[in-house]
């Protein structure tokens, strides 16, 4: 799959392969980013439409997966800045968090939250870098490419994100 020369001659078959090999990975990563599966499915669709459109120009300076993740990050960022997120989903998210009923609270106490669930409680900016580094298992350099930032600023952001997550983990007693 990393064979750049073959990808440069990309045809539908190559695109299909990229989509199949990365589909679930991208969808899950985007779900972590936006915390809404239906929205993540829409975003993933847009991601692969862009992959299709731009695949002929992919030169292979990074792995195809990092390149696809970069598109996924950009699409997710657009969504997180969008009117619908700020006015509909962001509101829902808060309501969901504060709207636990008694039963949920009891179950919640009995079953400690997983690290993954705690990641979902982080702010989008930090959640994104944690997801790329530890869920997608990208190197700092690859995270920098995916986020379109320098390695230095990624290190800083990651340091702060880890501190935020650590507080949550310790609070949960994990």
């Amino acid at each position: 799959m990393e064979n750049v020369h073959r990808l440069q001659r990309t045809e539908t078959a190559d695109f299909d392969q990229v989509m199949r090999e990365n589909g679930t990975k991208v969808l899950r990563l985007v779900t972590l980013f936006v915390k809404n599966q239906a929205v993540a499915e829409d975003i993933t669709q847009e991601v692969f439409l862009k992959v299709y459109k731009n695949l002929p120009y992919f030169r292979g300076e990074s792995s195809i997966q990092t390149w696809v993740y970069k598109i996924a990050v950009n699409e997710s960022k657009s969504y997180l800045r969008s009117w619908s997120f700020r006015n509909i989903f962001a509101k829902d998210e808060i309501e969901q968090e504060s709207g636990q009923n008694v039963e949920d609270e009891v179950i919640g106490k009995a079953n400690r939250e997983t690290v993954a669930e705690l990641v979902l409680k982080m702010t989008p900016k930090y959640r994104q870098v944690i997801a790329l580094r530890y869920y997608a298992d990208l190197s700092i350099k690859e995270v920098a490419v995916a986020l379109g930032e320098s390695e230095g600023s990624v290190r800083t952001r990651l340091h702060r994100a880890r501190a935020q997550l650590k507080k949550l983990v310790e609070k949960e007693g994990l």
Binding site: Q45, N74, A116, Y134
Partner: protein
């Protein structure tokens, strides 16, 4: 085991935990795959049709949708740092190169026959100072102007923003579709963490498509294509009129009593006049806001009314400017005032709204949505 070690272990098992809990039911299905393929097939059919028909213009719709909301535009507004005409003079620059930073891996398109003259997506900011940017999230070069449209024979303050890391100088040029081209020009760039930029005054000698090509170390790095219009009576379009009105509502002293921050927009019923003098007929929706943190805003004062904007072309700065506004404040006189002040076509449109209050209300709510969004965007920055 101390807390640091436990935390590291938590991170190491994040993927497994996520895949087995919150993401357990999340799969990229065959149905989703098919949806994407159907969209691609549909766009191919449309592309084929457009190419046979009226050319490439309609292809931009997809690009415009895909390219909206890109993050870089929040970085800067066009300021007074512009220098030099486009050909052969130095721009203001003080920055350094990006040193050992790695180049970004995304490979921008190169001018092939298929894409060489495909217009780049263009977005005009909805409020405040006029700024139009050409480019999209996936493009490595963006071109900003302080104007809604580009006209031949005008001089524009422009900024070029490039993603990636550059030496202190790069080369660029403009090429016109019909063959006119500038000589390659060396420019100094300001480099910050992930992007470089330079300012230029840009002059397009003739209408048509112009392609700006940026070269890094003598190799084509990226390009964008813009459409330069010929100034005529018809060239002042609804888009330009809307942006002009928004700017006027937000900044003109006649609305000071409403307070700040203030944003407005307009539903345009008609435009007429000569190249130099225009009249915009429409329904203004203006709101002032209580500004809160995190982009939340609440309305302070509201003004909805039919208006006529008298617009004149200022030859000194190559801009249309609102000279005067007539606002129809008395609801009982709307019909009479509009009949007197509007063009016949504009009156017909306005009349149909006034005869149907539900539609009028719907129109006002729609325009208000734009105004609210502009206020939220501004509050966020």
């Amino acid at each position: 085991m101390d807390s640091d070690q436990r935390f590291e272990q938590s991170l190491q098992r994040l993927k497994d935990e996520a895949d087995n809990s919150v993401l357990k039911q999340v799969f990229f299905t065959e149905e989703m795959e098919q949806k994407i393929k159907n969209k691609i097939a549909k766009s191919k059919r449309q592309r084929s049709y457009w190419l046979k028909g009226s050319g490439l213009v309609a292809c931009l719709c997809l690009l415009l949708v895909l390219g909206s909301n890109s993050g870089w535009w929040t970085l800067t507004g066009i300021d007074s740092g512009n220098h030099a005409s486009g050909v052969g003079t130095d721009a203001d620059h003080t920055g350094a190169s990006g040193g050992d930073e790695p180049p970004l891996s995304f490979d921008p398109p190169v001018p092939t026959e298929r894409h060489a003259w495909e217009l780049s997506p263009a977005t005009t900011l909805p409020s405040g100072n006029v700024m139009t940017f050409y480019g999209s999230d996936l493009m490595e070069v963006h071109f900003l102007t302080d104007s809604v449209n580009l006209y031949a024979g005008n001089d524009y303050k422009t900024r070029v923003v490039l993603r990636g890391f550059f030496p202190e100088t790069l080369q660029y040029r403009w090429v016109q579709e019909k063959g006119e081209r500038w000589a390659i020009d060396d420019v100094g760039v300001k480099q910050n963490q992930t992007q470089a930029e330079f300012n230029r005054n840009t002059y397009f000698s003739q209408p048509g498509k112009w392609r700006m090509e940026v070269y890094k170390e003598n190799k084509l790095y990226s390009f964008i294509v813009v459409d330069v219009k010929e100034k005529s009576e018809k060239s002042f379009d609804i888009k330009e009129a809307t942006v002009l009105a928004r700017q006027y509502f937000a900044s003109d002293a006649s609305f000071t009593k409403m307070g700040q921050p203030r944003y407005g927009s307009i539903e345009i019923f008609g435009i007429d006049g000569t190249t130099e003098q225009k009249k915009i007929y429409g329904w203004a929706v203006i709101r002032s806001f209580h500004d809160k943190k995190n982009g939340e805003v609440t309305i302070n004062q509201a003004l909805d009314a039919p208006v006529v904007l008298d617009v004149a072309y200022n030859k000194k700065n190559y801009r249309y400017e609102v000279q005067h506004m007539t606002i129809m404040e008395d609801k009982n006189l709307y019909f009479a005032d509009m009949q007197k002040l509007f063009s016949a076509d504009a009156y017909m449109t306005a009349h149909s709204y006034l005869k149907n209050p539900a539609e009028l209300e719907q129109m006002i709510r729609r325009v208000e949505q734009d105004v609210m969004q502009a206020a939220r965007d501004q509050a966020l920055h």
